[in-house]
């Protein structure tokens, strides 16, 4: 009985720790890389307020266009291609609260993505593990076309929210 109670207590403490480890801002904002501003698209593009996408939110025209399914696929190690180029995915360590939230949103197990990233060094599957959020922007920029997550929406010359 004592052992049973102890186990229950341990579980409760662990659950509490996990909950505390997830701060109130534990939302993740998916960010996508932007095309270098060298080439112009065919014709004159529409104004930003006139842009539409396939069930996505509006954004700058040069942000790569991906779907939720693409997100799920790329973090599962499935190859996703954009106009012939492979999509890369950046992510932080498994125990990072943002990673946990991001992977949970996609219905994925962070451990699986982590294992895939380790394998990525041998058999390239375009998953890149980085150590913290400060490296995320650099990773997204370096591996264009790429996707990653940040704790708030940021727009730079290299990246912007995907959705």
């Amino acid at each position: 009985m004592k052992q049973f109670c102890l186990r229950g207590l341990t579980r409760a403490v662990l659950s509490l720790q996990i909950m505390l480890a997830l701060p109130a801002w534990a939302d993740t904002v998916w960010h996508c890389s932007r095309a270098p501003a060298m080439q112009q698209a065919v014709g004159s593009g529409p104004e930003t307020g006139d842009l539409f996408a396939l069930a996505q939110q509006d954004g700058a025209d040069d942000v790569i266009q991906i779907s939720v399914t693409d997100l799920i696929d790329v973090y599962s190690g499935v190859s996703v291609r954009l106009s012939g180029l492979p999509l890369s995915a950046c992510f932080m360590p498994v125990n990072d609260p943002m990673t946990m939230k991001a992977m949970r949103d996609l219905g994925l197990n962070a451990d699986v993505s982590s294992a895939l990233a380790r394998k990525s060094a041998i058999a390239k599957n375009n998953l890149y593990r980085i150590t913290d959020e400060s490296e995320m922007k650099a990773c997204i920029k370096r591996h264009h076309p790429a996707v990653g997550y940040l704790n708030r929406a940021q727009v730079t010359e290299q990246l912007a929210p995907c959705f």
């Binding site: 939302d27 904002v29 998916w30 095309a35 270098p36 501003a37 060298m38 080439q39 112009q40 698209a41 065919v42 014709g43 004159s44 593009g45 529409p46 307020g49 006139d50 842009l51 539409f52 996408a53 396939l54 069930a55 996505q56 939110q57 509006d58 025209d61 040069d62 790569i64 266009q65 991906i66 779907s67 939720v68 399914t69 693409d70 799920i72 996703v80 291609r81 954009l82 106009s83 012939g84 180029l85 999509l87 949970r104 949103d105 996609l106 219905g107 994925l108 076309p145 959705f163």
Partner: protein
């Protein structure tokens, strides 16, 4: 001689009868085993909590035309055989890799690129997948909500960005209005499905005026709420007179990627993370007609549980309404709203949006009843 003929005829009759029975049994079994979870359960199966309950609903006598304004449709998909009407590529010349508008409503080629703009290959098959959820014929287990509906495919998305003008032209043409330089649409739509989002946070006046005019003409608009991860509704879902559709999972919870806005009129299964449930709906993805690459890198048609997004929840609603209209072709957007008790039921509330009262799509009664 006569008796020999009679024996042969009788034999053939039994053979044919056996074949017919076999085919019917096969179709019945296929329906029972493969019918998508989001339509409801057959026999003793337990339906998904979010299933729309149309699996046993027979279409009415009226053939309803649904316009799918999207990335184009690949007409050769077996699950869409016999389901498509002539459509149009409404992407204007400046944004069109084919350099002109035409009757070819197929999407841009896989890997197509527009300047430095990159687009995922998944968008090539987007329109095909959406159309299959409206009117898939059942081949390979891809059942649309209303296989008796016919789809008019209209392309407005290619590898280049989409312009508002093309959207306005596409809507007008879908409804049977004249668009300069484009032959008339011989099959005006009663329902227009828009699995897209963007534009402005407030509905553009020109778009709203067009929608208002067509709603008066008894055309029903269905638009995806958008996969903007809990932000407000974009256009065209934020326009009045439009049935805005958010996504719920098989257990009636709003999907995390879905827009979150009290103005969202209805939620429908949109697919998402797999659920722990030990039931067919645990997969929590919608089975769609799509294309994928085979081992040799060649594109081939397939049917997969891969639909995730409000893009896929919207055609479930469009198909549902087409089924309703097949019994009652004169019903309107206002009639749909006044039939809330018949067609909608509460979905699970969400803490992040206290003002949201999510309602899931549900066929509570026979649609043929007045």
């Amino acid at each position: 001689m006569d008796s020999i003929l009679l024996i042969i005829m009788t034999k053939n009759f039994f053979k044919i009868a056996l074949h017919l029975c076999g085919a019917a049994l096969y179709v019945g079994l296929a329906m029972a085993q493969e019918s998508p979870w989001h339509l409801g359960a057959t026999g003793s199966q337990v339906p998904a909590p979010a299933a729309i309950n149309t699996i046993t609903e027979k279409p009415g006598p009226h053939r309803i035309v649904v316009a799918v304004i999207d990335s184009g449709v690949i007409a050769s998909h077996p699950s869409l055989a016999g389901q498509l009407l002539p459509g149009y590529d409404m992407v204007s010349a400046a944004q069109n890799l084919r350099k002109e508008r035409s009757a070819d409503f197929s999407p841009d080629e896989r890997g197509a690129k527009c300047g430095s703009r990159l687009m995922a290959d998944s968008f090539r098959t987007h329109g095909t997948e959406v159309a299959s959820l409206v009117a898939g014929n059942g081949v390979d287990g891809v059942f649309g909500v209303n296989p008796s509906a016919k789809v008019v495919p209209i392309r407005v998305f290619g590898a280049c960005a989409m312009s508002r003008k093309d959207l306005l032209d596409a809507i007008a043409w879908a409804a049977g209005m004249q668009v300069p330089g484009v032959p008339a649409n011989a099959y005006p739509a009663k329902i227009i499905n828009l699995s897209m989002g963007g534009g402005s946070s407030v509905c553009n006046p020109e778009l709203q005026a067009l929608i208002d005019r067509l709603v008066q003409d008894k055309i029903i608009f269905v638009a995806a709420a958008g996969n903007n991860f809990q932000k407000p509704l974009p256009e065209p879902a934020n326009c009045s007179g439009v049935i805005s559709v958010g996504a719920i999972n098989a257990e009636n919870q709003i999907e995390v990627y879905s827009a979150l806005d009290p103005r969202t009129l209805v939620y429908a299964p949109g697919g998402g993370a797999a659920l722990p449930a030990n039931a067919p709906w645990g997969v929590n993805k919608l089975k769609v007609a799509t294309y994928e690459l085979d081992f040799f890198g060649k594109e081939r048609s397939s049917a997969r549980f891969s639909g995730v997004g409000t893009s896929f929840a919207a055609p479930v609603v469009a198909g549902f309404i087409s089924l309703w209209l097949s019994h009652n072709p004169d019903k309107t957007f206002d009639d749909f709203l006044s039939n809330k008790a018949k067609f909608l039921r509460p979905a699970l509330p969400i803490e992040k949006c206290a003002q949201c009262i999510p309602l899931g799509l549900f066929n509570a009664d026979r649609m043929g009843t007045p």
